[in-house]
């Protein structure tokens, strides 16, 4: 397998990008990610992005966003209607093939012009579920109650996860929900949004974007002091229907972690830090189990997606945050997780390591 590393990244998340287009959001992020390793678009072998037309309310909206890249003369480019983490996977495959030595990956989501929790209903089965317009918070609540009532976790433990996220997020400029002194009692006193989930149990919705530069082999070592090597990466999917799945489990997350570990040569629980892409505290709990993350793993040092969740970018942001932990030397090994679909249907696990 070819050595491929994250060599730079840029992230921006806020509550609402009212007057900023996707293009204007991405211009500084893409330039920052390229400039910090001294690359121009001419030096990039492959560009891949992730976004959703349902957020833009406009068909083929990603074509416009290419304006932010500087795609003239024409570039080698691809797009996925998924989180940018899956665009990164495509770029990683391209780098494995050996056609290119560098890749730019970016993704973005501006969900504030619409009602995100309702927009997400249209990803469900269009025959028997979507016409009932079950919103994303309700669907997350159905899963959370199954977890609570199966005895796997308590409301107090979920509140502890919310507190950990908010405390870790202090100092993260891209976190929307951060507090150094929040307590479990504070979280438990929050209003219930979707029974049994409280506001702090649900990921803080953000507008934002993320850009990442990947490089292979010696090129990565030239470009930065401490590349975050992608030792293993894999993504797997569970059945779509909520009724046919055991919502207290995520077999695809466990399998993706096992496959990534096979490639990496170390297990998911051998990491120093893990960044998780979850839409609720209950999903953080579920993933911690499926990925076998022990007490010695620092989970969500950035606050995770609970502290700031940009639809279509939150997974790529997890990879960027995990890579930063490695690049800074704060971690030798890191796990980044991304998900897609209702109730953790699809999961990607990326194992990173410094040298």
């Amino acid at each position: 397998m070819r050595e491929v590393a994250v060599v730079s990244s840029a992230v921006h998340q806020v509550e609402a990008l009212t007057f900023t287009t996707d293009v204007q959001l991405m211009v500084p992020l893409i330039n920052q990610a390229r400039d910090s390793v001294g690359l121009t678009q001419d030096d990039i072998g492959f560009t891949c992005s992730g976004s959703s037309d349902f957020l833009a309310g406009q068909g083929f909206s990603f074509v416009q966003t290419l304006d932010a890249v500087g795609a003239f003369p024409p570039i080698a480019e691809s797009h996925v209607e998924m989180d940018g983490a899956f665009a990164l996977y495509e770029a990683w495959v391209k780098l494995q093939i050996g056609e290119v030595d560098t890749a730019l990956v970016y993704s973005y989501g501006k969900s504030s012009p619409g009602s995100r929790r309702d927009v997400l209903a249209v990803q469900l089965d269009p025959y028997a579920m979507a016409p009932l317009w079950p919103d994303a918070h309700s669907v997350a609540a159905l899963q959370a109650r199954r977890l609570l009532e199966s005895g796997g976790v308590t409301l107090g433990q979920l509140a502890e996860i919310a507190v950990r996220s908010q405390r870790n997020a202090v100092g993260n400029p891209n976190a929307l929900r951060a507090s150094a002194d929040v307590t479990v009692d504070d979280v438990m006193a929050d209003a219930v949004v979707a029974d049994p989930l409280r506001a702090a149990d649900l990921a803080a919705e953000a507008d934002g974007g993320c850009a990442v530069v990947l490089a292979a082999g010696h090129r990565a070592r030239e470009l930065c002091d401490r590349p975050a090597w992608i030792r293993g990466i894999d993504h797997r999917v569970d059945a779509h229907g909520l009724g046919v799945r055991d919502l207290t489990r995520s077999p695809s997350a466990a399998l993706a972690a096992a496959r990534a570990a096979d490639r990496a040569g170390f297990e998911a629980d051998a990491v120093d830090v893990a960044e998780l892409h979850a839409s609720s505290t209950a999903q953080v709990h579920l993933l911690t189990g499926e990925l076998s993350l022990g007490d010695d793993v620092r989970i969500d040092p950035s606050g995770g997606s609970l502290a700031g969740d940009t639809l279509m970018a939150a997974g790529l942001v997890r990879i960027a945050e995990a890579a930063r932990q490695v690049a800074s030397g704060d971690a030798d090994r890191a796990l980044a997780h991304a998900s897609s679909g209702p109730c953790l249907q699809q999961n990607l696990v990326c194992l990173l390591e410094g040298e």
Binding site: D67, G70, L132, S138, L142
Partner: protein, 344 residues
């Protein structure tokens, strides 16, 4: 876009995306929908006896086809639930309601639907419920109003009309209508706000590239060739030339004032390096040609708003044409950016 700013001076518009989907069902999902129309709930049975409800046509574990249809009970048990207050836009419910995964008697998988009770206090996992039906049913998931606690009498006789429906037609449901409607609060970018506001003063703005001075209209705040911010605004002439055009014979919805056929054209303003879309009128269709010089025809001053609709159309100036080989985009060629194309 109405061209009328809100109380904070912002232009905004309601943007609604609506798709009137008609989905074919196939025989298995069709059987489920037919069942709903007839006031019954059916599932599909895998060879090992496991019954999926709603009926699925493909085994989610093996990918094998499942074709055996079996009826299950209209009573069952809540496996997990939440409370939806307020009800979501587009949903079939007007009041706060429960939302639950309900495993019906005889089924091995739960189905999603509403639970019609007064409050979250009336919801519980393990609670037995029964289906309540609409009187008029068409073969749709909303034929089922939802579930109510079993034995309360609320669901009694609600499946009436079943026999009638079967008597009148034994045709299976083959398609369903599932309209999708999404609403957005669309607020143009800062560059677009400035561009639209300038129209109210009969001014047309573009962005100048910081890289080579090329001018883009409408201004989008970036030079798309280089992926860099372009914040400098420049005011453009109200004259230009036709870079390309097309004659259309279909009407534009909402533009009753526009007789067909009409000409839409790529208008290249003097001083701009790319074209933008406009209508050409005030001459015979046959006279419209690439390189033809045109000028803006504005709405009367009293009708002006912050909208590009202020330019009703572009009419010929009568000046000599721009030569065809010099007409069109110049930002993408070697010619000097920002240069005004001189009349031939």
């Amino acid at each position: 876009m109405t061209g009328v700013p809100d109380e904070r001076g912002r232009l905004r518009a309601d943007l609604v995306i609506e798709y009137p989907f008609t989905r074919t069902t196939g025989p298995v999902v069709g059987a489920f929908m037919t069942g709903l129309r007839d006031g019954r709930i059916v599932g599909s049975r895998r060879t090992d006896g496991r019954v999926f409800v709603p009926a699925v046509e493909v085994d989610p574990e093996t990918g094998d086809a499942i074709t055996e249809i079996v009826e299950v009970g209209s009573t069952g048990v809540i496996e997990t639930w939440t409370w939806v207050d307020p009800p979501r836009p587009g949903s079939p419910w007007e009041d706060p309601h429960g939302l639950a995964l309900v495993r019906l008697d005889g089924a091995d998988t739960p189905m999603l639907h509403g639970v019609l009770v007064e409050s979250a206090d009336d919801m519980a996992t393990g609670m037995r419920v029964e289906a309540v039906w609409k009187a008029e049913r068409v073969g749709h998931i909303t034929d089922l109003k939802g579930f109510v606690p079993e034995g309360t009498g609320q669901a009694e006789n609600s499946a009436e009309g079943t026999e009638r429906a079967v008597d009148e037609t034994d045709e299976a449901v083959r398609s369903i209508r599932t309209p999708i409607r999404l609403e957005y609060d669309f607020i143009p970018s800062a560059a677009a706000q400035e561009y639209l506001h300038a129209y109210a003063d009969k001014r047309i703005l573009g962005n100048r590239s910081p890289v080579d001075g090329a001018v883009f209209v409408p201004p989008r705040g970036v030079d798309p060739r280089h992926g860099v911010a372009a914040t400098e605004m420049v005011e453009l002439a109200h004259t230009g030339h036709v870079g390309n055009f097309c004659v259309t014979h279909l009407p534009i919805p909402g533009r009753d004032d526009l007789p067909t056929p009409y000409v839409s054209a790529w208008i290249h303003l003097d001083g701009a390096d790319i074209g933008f879309l406009g209508l050409v009128a005030g001459c015979d269709l046959d006279d419209v040609r690439i390189g033809m010089r045109v000028r803006a025809v504005w709405k009367p001053d009293e009708d002006l708003g912050a909208t590009a609709e202020n330019v009703l159309y572009w009419e010929p100036t009568g000046d000599p044409d721009v030569p065809v080989d010099r007409a069109g985009n110049r930002a993408w060629r070697d010619s000097a950016p920002g240069e005004v194309v001189e009349d031939a």
